[in-house]
Symmetry: C2
Subunit: 216 residues, 2 copies
DNA sequence: TCAATAGTGTCTGTTAGACATTATGGA
DNA sequence: TCCATAATGTCTAACAGACACTATTGA
């Protein structure tokens, strides 16, 4: 990364908001009270720059990372660049338990003061996850590869910030052929042990949605 | 606009894909076989630059214009800039009937060769409209302020590229309190005249959507 | 009159959500 | 044993889609 301003201001930067669940909330990785950012190296694309940054932050190859857009109206940015391309990446549960050198994780509800442009980016990244979770398996990428259905539901509830109906949640999941059971079970304190599931690679039911008018 | 390269390559450009319905298809405005683009003037924000460009293209103040993201991996762009911020704007039916000086409208199914970066932008803009139409009144912005329900349905069918059920469409529309009738009627050739409606400014029903798993 | 389009009423299969019940472990 | 959690079955209201029907105009 290039967080020390040794060069003149670049023409644009790539900023990556890496989000992971931690202690029942969403957390974002920061370095020196700023969202990790860099500029593309020779011939590097926007996406591959973002992927490289994300793997530096987490030590993992993240499987969900998407562009959130260009941000330039707020000029406060560590680089001095006129615009920054913001990316949103998600890391699975547990990533925040072992922070990489020079990064730390912060609850999105209690962020330190950030450069204005990056504060807007973090908000956009969270909103982007919420908007896309019914079209993209982003909620699954925030969990380990195997998980209980209760954990999956809790993740949906965390992202959507509302309670869901257990039976309906599982029925919809089953109808979509989205998960498949493993032969493992997990006992978590009291209560009946839960079966572990994983995201199924099989064909999905074709989405037979009616037109909705859920406008604001 | 700044389509003649008199200055050195800017650090980024604003490109605006203006889309309007025309003869039963979607059309996009081009100038000299390129999507209109410019750079922000002194102190101009990304959004206001895009709005200015869009009004130069259509002669109107467009009410739906959103950023589609930053595009930089395809280096072919008239400006020579390393990245461009793409916007998608929609203009109401009829806009393409009276083209402004130096702009022309092209069916998105039969576009002339465009700079690679801009071809990707046009695809993204169309996809963006499709993705957002159930959360944003974008379909209404592609119609005049008053319209028949059949016209509205035809617009939804054009954008979604599939046929819709008439009775269901109207029921959902009514349940959402989305439109209100005017006292005007329109007779279009043969058949019973249709009542004109407009987008209602009233409170919407709160969207009581279940969780969907419409993943690919 | 026929043709064409607007608009509505009814039926049926599907589904979301409420509720209840069974299953299975730990304390 | 009691309690907590997993998992599932049943009922009901709401709704999408199919179909048929009426309404109203121009040719």
């Amino acid at each position: 990364m290039n967080q020390e301003l040794k060069d003149p201001a670049p023409s644009f930067t790539i900023d990556v908001v890496v989000i992971t669940p931690h202690k029942g909330h969403l957390s974002v990785a920061l370095a020196a009270d700023a969202v990790p950012w860099d500029v593309p190296r020779n011939g590097e694309s926007l996406n591959s720059t973002a992927r490289r940054l994300a793997s530096e932050v987490t030590g993992l190859e993240l499987s969900w990372i998407e562009q959130a857009g260009a941000f330039g109206d707020a000029y406060d940015h560590p680089s001095g660049a006129p615009i920054s391309v913001g990316f949103c990446a998600v890391a699975p549960l547990g990533t925040a338990d072992h922070p990489e050198q020079s990064f730390s994780w912060h609850d999105i509800g209690h962020l330190p003061p950030l450069p204005e442009r990056q504060r807007i980016m973090v908000d956009s990244a969270v909103e982007m996850i919420r908007d896309r979770m019914d079209l993209s398996p982003v909620a699954f990428k925030l969990l380990p590869t195997s998980f209980t259905l209760s954990e999956l539901q809790a993740m949906y509830e965390l992202l959507l910030a509302k309670r869901l109906h257990k039976a309906s949640f599982r029925r919809a999941l089953q109808a979509a052929w989205l998960v498949e059971p493993t032969d493992e079970w997990r006992s978590e304190g009291r209560g009946r042990p839960a079966q572990l599931y994983r995201l199924s690679g099989k064909r999905r039911r074709k989405a037979r949605r009616a037109v909705r008018f859920d406008l604001l």
